[in-house]
């Protein structure tokens, strides 16, 4: 195999670091002896590789460390623990409440439309002919009732969301001087408020459901 400039380039780092096998090393040196371009390249690479590790590091801009610390004050690397509180808070989130309400409403509409008493579902109720007839009779009335119920729920949801946005945005987070892993002191109070608020919206939903049923 003839040793070309390409081989010299490929093996240059190993050659300069003394990592070549004796046979390759001999071929490399023979090539360098007769090829000025490779000789110059090798000298330049040797020179710059020697200088690079000793180049002065860039000066870190003043205040960068401080800005990093400021951006990272709070709970370090911890995911919030899953407790009954967080689960409950999740269940009571407005989105979930609306979802739950909508499902309940759908079932309610369906049963109303089909004139089925949920406590006494019989095979007769599920006969397609009876289903169709019952549905046709009840459809208009029940659809209107059901829609009102869902719309009411949506109003509750929107009010809830607005309230949350309002309580989230204006209060600027005070600079946390103690970047400890304290589990945010406001969470306890917030949860109570949430429970109260959600409690009332759920009550409203249940009342509406009751009204819908009574109509």
């Amino acid at each position: 195999m003839t040793w070309t400039c390409i081989h010299s380039e490929e093996r240059l780092a190993d050659y300069l670091e003394g990592q070549l096998e004796p046979a390759e090393r001999a071929q490399m040196e023979a090539h360098l002896a007769e090829c000025a371009a490779c000789r110059e390249l090798a000298a330049q690479v040797r020179w710059i590789s020697g200088r690079l590790p000793h180049l002065p590091p860039e000066v870190v801009p003043p205040g960068l460390v401080y800005r990093i610390l400021e951006a990272t004050s709070g709970t370090v690397g911890r995911k919030p623990a899953i407790t009954w509180k967080t689960v409950l808070a999740g269940l009571l989130s407005p989105r979930f409440a609306l979802g739950l309400g909508t499902v309940a409403a759908t079932v309610f509409i369906l049963f109303q439309a089909l004139d089925i008493n949920p406590r006494k579902i019989t095979m007769d109720n599920l006969n397609p002919v009876n289903l169709y007839r019952a549905a046709d009779q009840q459809a208009h009335l029940t659809y209107a009732r059901g829609m009102r119920f869902v719309n009411d729920l949506r109003v509750v949801y929107e009010i809830r969301s607005r309230l949350e946005e309002a309580s989230a945005t204006p209060a600027p987070v005070p600079e946390q001087q103690t970047p400890k892993n304290a589990p945010a002191p406001q969470s306890e109070q917030k949860l109570k408020n949430d429970l109260l608020r959600h409690g009332s919206s759920l009550t409203a939903a249940i009342t509406l459901a009751g009204l819908g049923g009574g109509l």
């Binding site: 380039e9 330049q44 020179w47 590789s49 180049l55 860039e58 960068l64 610390l69 690397g77």
Partner: protein
Amino acid sequence: MEPDSQLVAQCLRGEAAAWEELVRRHTRRVYNLAYRFTSNRQEAEDLSQEVFLRIYRTLASYRAVHGEFTTWLTSVTRNLLIDHYRRTRRDRLTDSIDEEGSPAEHKAAPGRRPDESASASELSAQVQHALTKISPELREAVILRDLQGLDYREIQQVLSVPEGTVKSRINRGRIELARLLTQMGVTGDRA
């Protein structure tokens, strides 16, 4: 001096002072890597903040058994640099009239001065200019090996490529850098 892994454990117990120490200890490394890669001080600063924010959020996932803290830190930095590179590629192509990076910084390589420190910072600026001209794969390999002093095994971990690839990228990166510097008239045999 406590080892990094101990500081990490202290951070996870909520000791703010340990986190501060980690940040102070490693900001220079992260900032330098970001600056060498981007050639832009503002971007390097923003990226450094992003790196530490990510480290901060994922600190619990660091395990000393997976390697040195600095290797992990370097991996996070490198991944953010590559994301940043891809994100900004289009902008760079559209302002290709300008030189890459900040031109003012590259032209800050005035006449030679006899003392060694002046010539080192001059060379540093010239190297920086040459680095912007080589592909990001070769650039990062040379920066990690020759400017950050990582060994082959660490670079292999950071880049997630086999050792042979690491070696060949470093070799080609040095060769391209050497050629560019020669074209710029920056050679080892000047005064």
